[in-house]
Amino acid sequence: MASIELRNIRKSFGAVNVIKGVDLEVRKGEFMVFVGPSGCGKSTLLRLISGLEDITSGEMLFDGKVVNALTPSKRGIAMVFQSYALYPHMTVYENMAFGLKLEKGNSKEAIRERVEKAADMLQIRQYLDRLPKQLSGGQRQRVAIGRAITRDPKVFLFDEPLSNLDAALRVATRIEIAKLHEGMHDVTMIYVTHDQVEAMTLADRICVLRDGLVEQVGTPMELYEKPDSIFVAGFIGSPKMNFLTGEKAEAFKCATLGVRGEHMLVKPDGIWEGEVIHTENLGADTYVYLEMGQEEPIVVRLEGAMQHPSGSKLRVSPMEDRVHRFDEAGKPIR
């Protein structure tokens, strides 16, 4: 129901400038994911959008109206806090039902139904009567999510909502959130995550933040395939993109050459040779770290569980059409 526009938003805590002028438009019904290094200002930006934190300068618009001064409750948002912020004196049920009870016109049964539905979805049905302090970390996090989704807001703000969940649950919850979003076309979602998979799969668009500024906004594929800067290239994708400089880059007529681990082919006639210094075996894939005279070792992703003993040499080539070339300033050459 709400489109959100940020115009040159700044935020400082005392002398510390945290958000340094962000312009951003989140479209109505869009699923926007914020990513960026720890401490870059994601949570702060989310809190500014929620209205919990005062904006130092700039304008925040919801549906075209300035909301700088609007209280959080008037903005029609639901939020999952990075620190959970559960009500310590309420049971899980009460925590989740609290917002609903206060809205007028919700019958007791309707509330119970909604809470239980959310609890089922998050697999915390059996903990409804417990207090937060009697829960495990992941359970607390689920309560925090549950509290947000039982309500019916125009905007959802999620701050790393799945960070403490196990892989299976994380996938399940991720899918539930995606469904939630699909089911409610009007609802705008803003989602902070460090998980590449979450970002790539959930986002309509991803906003990469760096040090209080927007680095690039785009669909996941755009960011993956056409990063606007070395920073974005390095940040999106796991394992991190390999960057090569010096001779090897010059051969491709650029200052820095970026090649993702998955775009490296091990070939006997590979153009680069490296020494295996470390192998990581993930079951489905193996990451091989090659020493190639670069600042950091070069990662090559191989399918399946491979054994390349440390110290052995390997020749690799980048897929020519998947390399990323960057100039001195870190901007892509296309």
Binding site: P72, F81, P88, H89, G99, L102, E103
Partner: protein
């Protein structure tokens, strides 16, 4: 008093637990010793005196009289039974009623006003420090002074309260606040509430300050109206602090002495149990009776406290690992 270290659960206790229990014992012992010396002997003695015929002129020659000071009876020749003793004394029951009434109203008002003041002080505004100091002034003025000061201010002829009331049109004629039986209690209540609201406010304020801030943010997001936030979040979370503040206030109110002693020492409508007991202990030659009254007051307070803790579900547990 209570065994500390000996309380062990059946299973083996880890050294951490033992270390803590040992520390706990070392931490509790000095306090218990201090309390036992300072309070143990005087308390036992007072209670003992209540079962004797002690007078202040002859404390050490007191003889045991059992429950006589509490209640004794005498069958007259006509066959009617005459009850004597504190429990049969209408003055005592009048004092009980005065005390309870006083305690109820004063604590009620102090709690409400204290909460309001605490909420105001909890807000961030310029000059908060000064206001906090100002608030505490009533509590800081010695009771003997403030009681007399108020006696003066409430005077019908040259008291400023009457003057103000008349000037503002609230009173049509000067009221002799402390003199008339109808207003004496009100006067005492006004002074007490004025004096002790800061106590309440400060304790509640401390409670408010300990509440984590982030759940208010969650509540803001949940769209909880500030009033609802107060009742559903603030109140439950300051409850422990509030409960303790109330307990101590009620205890003090039930034992109220100096204020009434100075303000309306001999008015029947304000005479409280402590005042009555003081009279018997030191002014009249009824030391035993005064001790009896003190002991009864102690019992009454104890019953009240137990009820309060039980009904208020004051939690002794929690917080431990």
């Amino acid at each position: 008093m209570a065994p500390v270290g000996t309380a062990a659960t059946p299973k083996i206790r880890s050294e951490l637990m033992l270390q803590r229990v040992r520390a706990a014992r070392w931490f509790l012992v000095p306090m218990m010793i201090a309390l036992a010396i300072v309070a143990g002997w005087p308390l036992t003695r007072s209670i003992w005196f209540s079962f004797t015929d002690a007078t202040l002129n002859d404390l050490y020659g007191a003889e045991w009289v059992g429950f006589g000071n509490y209640l004794r009876w005498q069958v007259l020749e006509s066959g009617t039974v005459r009850y004597r003793g504190v429990l049969a004394d209408p003055d005592w029951w009048n004092a009980v009623w005065n005390t309870v009434r006083f305690a109820f109203w004063s604590v009620l008002w102090e709690t409400v006003l204290g909460m309001i003041v605490a909420l105001v002080l909890n807000a961030e505004f310029r000059g908060r420090g000064i206001v906090r100091a100002a608030i505490l002034i009533p509590w800081a003025i010695p009771t003997i002074v403030s009681a007399r000061m108020w006696g003066w201010m409430l005077n019908d002829q040259f008291g400023i309260i009457n003057d103000l009331g008349m000037k503002l049109g609230l009173l049509s004629a000067p009221v002799a606040w402390t003199a008339s039986a109808d207003t004496a209690m009100t006067a005492v209540l006004i002074v007490d509430i004025w004096k002790t609201t800061p106590f309440m406010a400060l304790l509640i304020l401390a409670g408010l300050q300990m509440i984590p801030k982030d759940i208010y943010e969650a509540a803001d997001i949940d769209g909880v109206h500030p009033v609802k936030q107060f009742f559903r979040i603030t109140l439950p979370l300051v409850r422990p602090a509030l409960m303790v503040a109330i307990i101590f206030r009620v205890l003090d109110a039930l034992r109220i002495f100096d204020l009434i002693y100075v303000l309306t020492p001999n008015s029947r409508s304000t005479k409280t149990m402590s005042v009555l007991a003081q009279e018997n202990l030191f002014q009249f030659n009824n030391f035993a009776e005064g001790s009896t009254q003190s002991t009864l007051l102690f019992l009454l307070i104890a019953i009240f406290t137990i009820l309060y803790i039980w009904i208020g579900k004051v939690n002794f547990e929690g917080g431990d690992r």
